[in-house]
């Protein structure tokens, strides 16, 4: 007896615990296997790129916080560096070091969140998330100590940073830097030999190096696929050429590779912070920039390595107080574009894990 079967269409999201915000995935299922997937974005669209054209260059900094709200520092940094390149502003040495320290702290915090939610998507009922939150919390404490905010920081300014660090910052940072490597070793022991985690993430959501490059992926997604590319090395910005660090590169391009690449990047970030702590010079923390300054006419595309990948700002100035064009190349959106190819043929459970391993932030996808 032939049983009549037909595919069912399931909406994963926009209200779903594992879509990291309001992202929707319309999947066609044959049993539990995904035969087709359609990504629907735009639920968090706030029209930031257009709004930015109505605000002064300095007033736009808070927007950059709210795009990738889990990595506000790097958002600030990318925008400020772009504007500085456009206007030819020299940033004081101390400000450069502070920017690097905070950007790397933000990378650790963002990767902690990414790995925590990734294992959560594997079904570990929130335990790893809470442990990663513990580490992230300490970094947020450092942010709060410096600029008073924890999430949407608005810390960097065109020409430097808003405030110098308080006296108690360096001892607290030292304590964190001393403590974190042991913690990461502990997580490595707990997670890397966990057979269930390996089963769930090995050979899942694979993307080859060639496909990853063709899809213009960046960050841990690209490095997980075996391409040694990091904007900090390949197109150094700020003072990253002064630091000695390594780029972790995965083997197969599966979810587990992205996970271990992020773990290894946390270690490298710590190493950068340690070097910056030694070298940081005294001096001014911000160049003198008028609040409503007008950069000369021109355009610039400037990119940095944000925790999620290559975060680029394309800015056009018509010589006025507002940007003429404010465009963001957000890594979340472009990394997400590869999801369809990665999930077709997998089961629903794998699709969720794959989505978790991309580490999207819907605030940055939709902007």
């Amino acid at each position: 007896m032939a049983i009549k079967t037909e595919p069912i269409v399931v909406n994963i999201g926009p209200q779903h615990p594992s879509t990291h915000g309001v992202f929707r995935m319309r999947v066609t299922l044959d049993g539990e296997t995904i035969t087709d997937a359609e990504m629907v974005i735009g639920y968090l669209h706030r029209s930031m790129e257009k709004l930015a054209e109505e605000r002064t260059w300095t007033q736009n900094i808070p927007f950059t916080d709210r795009m990738d709200y889990l990595a506000a520092m790097t958002g600030n940094m990318a925008y400020c560096i772009a504007v500085e390149r456009l206007a030819g502003i020299e940033v004081p040495e101390r400000a450069q070091y502070l920017r690097v320290i905070f950007a790397e702290l933000q990378r650790i915090a963002s990767h902690a969140m990414a790995n925590g939610t990734f294992i959560n998507d594997c079904g570990a009922w929130q335990t790893p998330l809470f442990y990663m939150f513990r580490e992230r919390e300490k970094i947020l404490d450092l942010f709060e100590m410096t600029c008073g905010a924890r999430l949407t920081l608005n810390y960097m300014r065109i020409g430097g940073v808003a405030f110098d660090i308080p006296d108690e910052f360096m001892p607290a940072l030292q304590a964190l830097v001393d403590e974190l490597p042991d913690r990461i070793d502990e997580y490595d022991q707990l997670l890397l030999d966990n057979e269930i985690l390996l089963m769930r993430s090995r050979d899942i959501g694979k993307i080859s190096a060639e496909d990853a490059m063709n899809a213009s992926l960046s960050g841990p997604m690209l490095r997980g696929s075996g391409v040694a590319w990091d904007v900090r090395k390949g197109d150094p910005y700020s003072i990253y050429d002064r630091f000695d660090f390594e780029i972790p590169v995965g083997h197969n391009g599966d979810c587990f590779d992205r996970f271990i690449v992020r773990m290894a990047e946390v270690r490298q970030s710590l190493s950068i912070i340690k070097q910056a702590m030694v070298d940081i010079p005294p001096g001014k923390h911000c160049a003198e920039v008028p609040l409503n300054f007008r950069p000369p006419e021109g355009e610039v595309y400037s990119r940095i390595e944000s925790p999620k990948g290559e975060l680029g700002y394309y800015l056009v100035s018509d010589g006025g107080p507002f940007p003429y064009r404010f465009h963001v190349r957000s890594p979340s959106l472009i990394n997400l574009s590869a999801l369809r190819e990665m999930v077709i043929g997998q089961s629903v459970a794998d699709a969720i894990v794959t989505l978790g391993s991309i580490d999207i932030n819907v605030g940055e996808v939709d902007r």
Binding site: N194, I196, L198, A228, D235, P248, V249, F256, V348
Partner: protein
Amino acid sequence: MLSNWYDFRDLGNPVSRLIEGLEDAGVSDGWIYVITGLLGAIGILTFIGIAAVINIWIERRVIGRVQIRRGPNRVGPFGLLQPIADAIKLIQKEALQPKVADGFVFTLAPIVIFVPAILAFAVLPWGEQMVLADLNVGVLFILALGSTTTIMIFMAGYASNNKYALLGSMRVIAMLISYELPGVLALLGVVLFAGTMSLSGIVGFQDFYWSWLIFFQPLALLIFLLGSTAELNRTPADIAEAESEIVAGFHIEYSGMKFGLFYAVELVNAIAVSAVIATLFLGGWWTFGLENVIPGWILFIGKIYAVYFIFIWFRGTLPRFRIDQLMAFAWKFLLPLAIVNALLVAVEVFVWTEYDLNAGVVLPIFGVVNFALAGVLIVAFGRMIGAAYERYPKQPMMYRDIDVPLPEPAPA
């Protein structure tokens, strides 16, 4: 052994006294049967009611500790009144029902799902005489009850007419049917060893030979424990609910007290399975003579919660299997081990009875042999199954320099 009626170490004593009194008063046997049954049922239902409420608190506190947070601590002392607050909240909520749902089955499912969970307690011995129905096929009865839960979950998932619920119930059926087999075969080892299917009989066996069955059946315990996580829908086998995938699976459409019933039955089921494990492997109420000092039923409850703690620990620690991996785990790992275990026990029991050996000599030997074999089998078999992932490196390659050519700088 009939002690004084006021000997509460075994609550069977006052009941026996009551039966004597009723017989003296000329009450017919039928009525005595009904009255004692009701008494037992009231006792068990009281325990289940209290346990279901307390378990919410215990589970959330323990999970909180696992997750380096405190758990509920606001409502009442140590947050003890939290379950009551939760229940009040759930009762106040509107019990929504989707228009497309099959109303009758949709309402029936959360109610009937309680039946097997409660029935399982009927055959559990709480003391030497403290057993409501001493079935001589108690183990079979409990296994049969475990499988009926499948139908209720499928009722809930199918009647909801929701795709997530359908996926969830589909998974449940596939999973529970697969996990019945290793569970049954694991308990077959216990039954063979003890030579009886009556739960009182198995406790009596452990009492008689002065040893818990965990010392002779470690493999069976492990298989049954892992199989139970699937039956209970708990991590690593909570694919039926799979919060991060299909949100809540079969009970996604339930709200208010209907959801509360599913939530409660999950806890009652956990207690029932813990009780079965405590009875079969940890001696039930019998605890090396300690039951003469502390009432056996209190020791039994202590053992139940010790096993329950392991389930909570699993839940707090392990990620979830994918459905095909879960199936593979049942069919490729647990089932062969269970068969090997049953064969081993059969040989041991045959040798023991056929040659009429002294129990004091053979039982320690069996214990050592079974433990050693369990360790060897699990490690060797586990390596065989899990070896596929060993060849993958677990650390990324580290590059100090990159050789990707830079794009041409844009003309200024």
